[in-house]
Amino acid sequence: MSKYHLDYLEQLESESIHIFREVAGQFERPALLFSGGKDSIVLVHLALKAFRPGKFPFPLVHIDTGHNFQEALDFRDNLAAELGEKLIVRNVGDTIKEKNLTEQKGKFASRNALQTYTLLDTIEEFKFDACIGGARRDEEKARAKERIFSVRDEFGQWDPKLQRPELWDTYNGRIHKGENVRVFPISNWTELDIWNYIKRENIALPSIYFAHNREVLEWQGQLVATSEFMQKDPTDVISIKKVRYRTVGDMTCTAAVESDASTIDDIITEIIATKTSERGETRIDDRVSEAAMEDRKKGGYF
C-alpha cells in the first residue's frame, strides 16, 4: 500500500472541505444552516477545517420553529459564541403572526411545512445566494436524487427534472438574480459515517443524543417527548423511559429511541445493529405520504 493513503473518513472530509471552499469562492452571500443537530454540527466542524484561521465567509442561520429541544438551542448558542461566528435566528412563530399563516391542527401538528416560509423570507432578507445544509443522500429516497449544488428558483422550488449534471468535482454555482443554491457538503456521508467522524474528531454534541430519562408518549410504536407543544389526550399512554435521539428536529415530529447508549461507542454499536433507518425510526413527518420529503423540497424546504 502506498504511503499516501487516505481512509474513507479522510476522503469524505477532504471532499466536503472542497465543497465548502467552492461555495466561498463562487458565491457573494452564502449562509450555513445550523440547527444544533449532529449533521449541522459536523458541518460547522468541517467549515473550521476549511477556513481557519480565517473567519467563516458566511453567518450561521437557524430557522427556529419554536418547537425545538432546549438542549439543542443552548448548544447552538454556545457553539456560535465559542467560535465567535455570527448567528442569525429567525422564528417561524413570527412569520405565522406576520403573514397570518394557518398552523396544522391535531395530535402531531408540526411546523415543518411552515418553516419553508421563514427560510425563504430569511433568504430574501439577507439576499443569500447559497444556503449550505446538512442533508445526506442516504437519509431519504428523494434526497438520493439531489445534486450537491442544488439550484432553486425564486420561489425556492426544487425541480428534480431540471437538475444540472454534476461532472467530476466541478460544481456550477451560476444563478440568476433571485435564485439560490442549496449546497450539501455531506451528501456522500451516511449516518454511520457521521457518528464515526464525531468519534474520531471528538466533536461535542447536545446531551439529547445520549441516553437519558424522559417523559414520552407512545404512539404507533414511536416515543414522542411530551412538551407544552403536544396535545395530550386522556387515552394517551405516557411514561418515563430511557431514550436517546437519532435525529433532532421539532419536538412535535421527532421520535426518540429506547436506549442505554451513554457514549459515542455505545451509539455506534447500536447503529450498526439497527434494522431501521434513521428517518424511518424517528421522523413522523416523513410518514405523511410516500413522497412527503419530495413534496416539501419542491416547495422550497431545504
Partner: protein
C-alpha cells in the same frame, strides 16, 4: 477502509436496478422500513416477490411512470470498503447520464444479458467507459438462469467482449456470470454456476486495487479561495486554500503559478490548522509561499519541473448535455476545476459514433447526447492536462451563459 465509487451501466431490461437492489439486499444494507415500503409497492407481492428495482426509483414521477429520471446515489459498506453507487438511468438521455455518473467513478459494471450477448448497447457503454477513462471494468453477464447457467454461452460472450475491450484499450477487466434476480454470484458464490472459479461480485468490488489510480507524479493544486484573516495577530497570514488534485507537495518545493507564470517556493503546508511536511492527492490543504505574489481563485500552483499545458485554444471531446443544440460560434463559460473563462466553440471537427467509435462527418450543430470533437478558444489561457493522461485536470464543463445550465462535458485532448 477506503471508498470505491462505481457506476452500473445497462439498458432498461438488463437488470441494472435489480442488481443494485440485490447488492444492497444481500449485503444487508437495506433497512426494514425501506423494505416494507417497496414490499407494499411490489406488484407481485402476493407471490412473495419483492421488486428490488423499486429501491432505486426515489421520485414520484419515476414510480408513477416506472422510469428512472436522473442519476441517484446509493451507499453501502462492508468492513473492507465504503461503496458509492452512481445509479444512472438506462434509457432516456442515455449518454448524458452515463457520462455524468462515469465522470467520478473508479469502476464500471457493464451488464450484458446472457441471452443477447454483446450488443450495440454494450459497445456504447464500453465506449463511454473508455472515453471517460474509468480505470476498472467488470463485465457482469446477467440472467444466467435464463440460459441454464451455460458455460458455453458465458465463454462466447467473454470472447466477443474481449475484442471490444481490446479495440477500446480497456485495461483492467473482470468477467463474472451472475443472476441478479436470483442472487447468483452477487454476494455469495453460486452453486448453480459451479464451473466458475472466480470471485463473487461483492468480493471483486471489495478487492479492486485503487491506490494505483491516483497520480502522485504530476502535482496540480487549483486555488479555490485565499484565506486572509487580517487580524492583528495574523496580519501577514495569507494561505491558498485548495485541494491537491494530483501529485505531492512538500515544503521547499519550487513552484510556478499558472497561467501567470509567477514563481515562488512553498514555505508552509497546513491541514486543518496544523503544519505538515507534505500534502498529497486528494487532500484539502492550505499552501503558503515565500513571496507575496498575485494569486487568486482559478490559478493553479504546480511545480517548476512538471508543468501542465497553458493555452487559450484546446481540442476537446464534448458530450453535449444541453437541450438547445451546440452551434459553432456560440459563446459559453468554460469551467475547469476552480477556473472559469469565457469560451467560444470555434468548430466541430467530427461527430463520434458512440456505437462504433467511427468518426462521422461534422454536423452543423450537435444535439443532446451527441459526442463531438471540437476546437475551443478561451478568452484567457487555461492550465490543463490531457484527459487521457490526467483525468482530474483534463475534464471541464461548458455552461450556457444565459441559462446558467451545464451543457457540456469536455474531455480535453
Amino acid at each position: 477502509m477506503d471508498i470505491l465509487r462505481f457506476i452500473t451501466a445497462g439498458s432498461v431490461d438488463d437488470g441494472k436496478s435489480t442488481l443494485i437492489g440485490r447488492l444492497l439486499y444481500d449485503s444487508k444494507s437495506i433497512m426494514i422500513d425501506h423494505l416494507e415500503a417497496i414490499e407494499k409497492q411490489s406488484k407481485n407481492k402476493e407471490e412473495g416477490e419483492i421488486d428490488l428495482a423499486l429501491l432505486t426509483d426515489g421520485l414520484r414521477a419515476e414510480r408513477e411512470q416506472g422510469i428512472t429520471i436522473d442519476v441517484a446515489y446509493k451507499y453501502f459498506s462492508t468492513p473492507k470498503r465504503k461503496f458509492i453507487i452512481a445509479d444512472a438511468p438506462g434509457h432516456i438521455q442515455y449518454t448524458r447520464n452515463m457520462v455524468t455518473g462515469a465522470s467520478n467513478s473508479d469502476l464500471a459494471i457493464i451488464l450484458v444479458d446472457a441471452r443477447h450477448g454483446v450488443i450495440e448497447q454494450t459497445r456504447r457503454h464500453s465506449i463511454i467507459a473508455s472515453l471517460l477513462n474509468i480505470p476498472h471494468v467488470v463485465v457482469a453477464i446477467n440472467k444466467m438462469d435464463l440460459v441454464d447457467y451455460s458455460q458455453d454461452v458465458y465463454n462466447n460472450i467473454v470472447i466477443d467482449y474481449s475484442k471490444v475491450a481490446e479495440s477500446l484499450g480497456l485495461k483492467d477487466i473482470t468477467y463474472i456470470p451472475i443472476s441478479a434476480l436470483n442472487g447468483d454470484n452477487i454476494v455469495d458464490k453460486s452453486e448453480n454456476i459451479s464451473w466458475y472459479t472466480g470471485s463473487c461480485l461483492l468480493d471483486i468490488l471489495e478487492n479492486v486495487k485503487l491506490e494505483n489510480d491516483i497520480n502522485y507524479t504530476d502535482a496540480r493544486f487549483p486555488v479555490q479561495y485565499v484565506i486572509r484573516p487580517q487580524t492583528e495577530e495574523l496580519h501577514d497570514y495569507r494561505g491558498y486554500a485548495g485541494r491537491v488534485i494530483s501529485g505531492v507537495y512538500k515544503k521547499g518545493d519550487k513552484i510556478v503559478v499558472q497561467p501567470s507564470g509567477l514563481e515562488s517556493t512553498i514555505s508552509l503546508i497546513e491541514i486543518a490548522g496544523k503544519p505538515t511536511e507534505e500534502a498529497f492527492a486528494p487532500q484539502s490543504v492550505i499552501l503558503h509561499l515565500e513571496d507575496d505574489i498575485d494569486i487568486s481563485r482559478g490559478d493553479v500552483i504546480v511545480k517548476k519541473d512538471n508543468q501542465p499545458s497553458v493555452e487559450n485554444e484546446v481540442d476537446a471531446l464534448v458530450c453535449w448535455m444541453g437541450n438547445k443544440p451546440l452551434v459553432p460560434g456560440n459563446k459559453y463559460i468554460l469551467q475547469i476545476n476552480s477556473r472559469t473563462v469565457r469560451a467560444i466553440v470555434k468548430e466541430i471537427e467530427y461527430k463520434l459514433d458512440v456505437n462504433s467509435l467511427l468518426e462521422l462527418p461534422a454536423p452543423e450543430q450537435a444535439s443532446l447526447n451527441d459526442i463531438v470533437k471540437v476546437k475551443i478558444k478561451t478568452a484567457s489561457p487555461i492550465p490543463f492536462d490531457s484527459y487521457k493522461k490526467l483525468r482530474v485536470n483534463g475534464g471541464a464543463i461548458l455552461i450556457d451563459e444565459t441559462s446558467n445550465v451545464t451543457v457540456g462535458a469536455c474531455m480535453i485532448q
